[in-house]
């Protein structure tokens, strides 16, 4: 059976979050193709948590809080802003946001690729346990709070207490960090780090020179 050439669309505000999740799960098991458009979200909260399917989802509009939490395998593109805690506890897959994100973007993510070309609120990548997080523009205070693993890339300035309580992972900053947490130190950006950073930036569609970034790690963590 061949896949349907026109990708299916779901009106989120009409269907409601429970029905959207049910339909997405059904699409995964059907042979209708792996691309789904979601539109008219009207800042709806808790969209598609726990979705585990190799789907490609495009969302047009502004989403509320806790969007795409605990997701696995899904590749998501959002054209609009997202509220707090998008990509919470994400396991794998990707979320790319063409807009701003609220507080706690990629909080407790264990894997995957999360990027925004806009601004981010406070505590971006809080408790990050794996995966890669990129913020193209400014972000708020306490970025990387309690990170234990993974990579956080900040393309512009960041607020106070960068990396507070961090036990592992790495933060790369191009702009100015208002203040560093006491346990954070700047390390030399090696060629291998620059190469890896360049690949991440390219994946997020961001044009920047990797060598402009400064690398921070908590002290006592092996490079």
């Amino acid at each position: 059976m061949t896949a349907d050439p026109t990708p299916p669309s779901i009106n989120i505000s009409q269907a409601g979050v429970v029905d959207v999740l049910r339909q997405l799960k059904q699409w995964d098991s059907s042979a209708r193709g792996k691309h789904v458009n979601l539109f008219d979200p009207r800042k709806i909260d808790c969209l598609a948590p726990g979705l585990n399917a190799p789907l490609s989802i495009q969302v047009d509009g502004e989403l509320g809080d806790f969007a795409f939490a605990i997701c696995e395998q899904v590749d998501i593109q959002v054209h609009g802003n997202i509220g707090k805690f998008a990509g919470h506890s994400m396991v794998s897959g990707s979320i790319q946001v063409n807009g701003n994100v609220g507080d706690g973007f990629a909080a407790f993510a264990m894997g995957g690729f999360l990027a925004t070309i806009g601004k981010a609120g406070n505590r971006v990548a809080m408790g990050l346990a794996g995966g890669e997080v990129i913020v193209r523009s400014d972000c708020g205070d306490e970025a990387g709070l309690g990170m234990s693993n993974g990579t956080l890339v900040l393309g512009n300035s960041t607020g106070v207490n960068l990396g507070l309580g961090m036990t592992g992972g790495v933060i790369l900053v191009r702009g100015v960090a208002k203040s560093l947490a006491p346990e954070m130190r700047e390390f030399r950006l090696k060629d291998a780090d620059a190469l890896r950073l360049g690949l991440l930036l390219a994946r997020a569609g961001i044009r920047a020179v990797a060598k402009e970034f400064r690398l921070y790690r908590p002290i006592g963590v092996a490079e």
């Binding site: 979050v17 429970v18 999740l21 909260d45 808790c46 598609a48 948590p49 726990g50 585990n52 809080d65 806790f66 939490a69 605990i70 696995e72 707090k84 805690f85 919470h88 506890s89 396991v91 507080d103 706690g104 909080a107 407790f108 993510a109 264990m110 505590r123 809080m126 408790g127 346990a129 709070l145 309690g146």
Partner: protein
């Protein structure tokens, strides 16, 4: 002056108004507890008891035996997947998964749990709302994503400290949780045992009263307190607890037959002699006897009080022996029927 320390001892279980005699026995009492979920069957346990705070780390070789004991008596345990991998499937009890403060929601924990509870205690034992809960509706969203991720199959609960403020209770109730856990906190450990019992009783009574006032009369409240006296635990059930933690009772019963490892450790440290590896304990008869005694006691109390269903066993079956206790709790004096 009345001593607040013995407030729970001032309460007695009495029968309600006389009703027509019906044949039956103490064993006919319905003791099962049901934590309901949005769409699924929820979690049922045979008796209003559960275990929280026991793990392989603190019971060592007795862990499989404890799990087997709970399985035989249909009681759930607060545990992780990793802790139960050492236990055979036939001995695995129902599992309540705990999502601790500031940790990810692990898929493996969610996918094979019978219930989920959010725990807000940090590593120092302090109670705080997690970072995700910044306003009154955030907990509702947090519960919402869990409910969707588990397709509404699992009951979702929230842990608050004993003595929680009404504002915190209100946030939980408005979040449409399926059950509430009230837990003793480490900063209260300096209390004497009778103080702990009284503090627990007052807290449970206040929480249940608040639930009733908020229109959530049947919200299950699981109470985790280090009380070892079975009569106190049964009184807690009448005061508003739906189920009580019996980990302290099991641990207390096991202490008498604790394997003496101090000599072997001494030998290892001083003489470099490795102690023989202890095989896992298959049975813990002393704990089993104590648990069965508690179950029998509960059935007897229900039978003699005239409450043949645990869900009907409420504060109306209690009377105060002291006027000050009656004034504090609003429970009538034993003399006024």
């Amino acid at each position: 002056m009345h001593d607040q320390a013995c407030i729970i001892d001032d309460l007695v279980v009495t029968s309600t108004a006389l009703s027509p005699a019906s044949p039956g026995s103490a064993n006919a009492a319905q003791t099962a507890v049901h934590l309901r979920s949005a769409t699924g069957p929820g979690l049922k346990f045979w008796f209003p008891f559960f275990v929280r705070g026991l793990s392989p780390a603190n019971v060592s070789v007795r862990w499989p035996a404890i799990c087997g004991l709970l399985r035989r008596h249909g009681l759930p345990i607060f545990s992780t997947v990793a802790e139960l991998t050492a236990v055979s499937a036939a001995d695995s009890p129902a599992r309540i998964a705990v999502r601790n403060l500031n940790q990810p929601f692990a898929k493996s924990e969610l996918s094979c749990a019978d219930a989920i509870v959010l725990n807000n205690q940090d590593l120092r034992g302090f109670w705080v709302w997690p970072y995700e809960v910044d306003g009154p509706h955030d907990l509702q969203r947090l519960v919402g994503i869990l409910r969707q991720a588990t397709e509404g199959q699992l009951p979702i609960g929230m842990t608050l400290p004993l003595g929680a403020k009404q504002a915190d209770l209100r946030v939980c109730i408005e979040s449409k949780i399926d059950f509430l856990t009230l837990a003793f906190s480490s900063e209260n450990l300096a209390m004497g045992s009778s103080n702990i019992a009284s503090f627990t009783a007052l807290s449970v009574h206040a929480a249940r009263r608040f639930c009733v006032e908020s229109g959530m009369v049947n919200l299950p409240i699981l109470v985790d307190s280090p009380i070892t006296a079975s009569e106190h635990l049964i009184k807690l059930l009448a005061m508003g607890a739906t189920a009580v933690n019996v980990a302290s009772v099991i641990r207390h019963a096991m202490v008498a037959n604790e394997p003496k490892v101090s000599e072997s450790r001494l030998a290892e440290n001083l003489l470099g002699v490795r102690p023989t590896v202890t095989k896992s304990v298959k049975e813990i008869p002393e704990a089993e006897r104590e648990l069965e005694r508690m179950i029998e006691q509960l059935k007897s109390v229900l039978y003699f009080a005239g409450a043949l269903d645990i869900s009907h066993f409420d504060v109306s079956y209690l009377r105060s022996l002291q006027k000050s206790t009656a004034d504090t709790l609003g429970i009538p004096l034993a003399s006024t029927r």
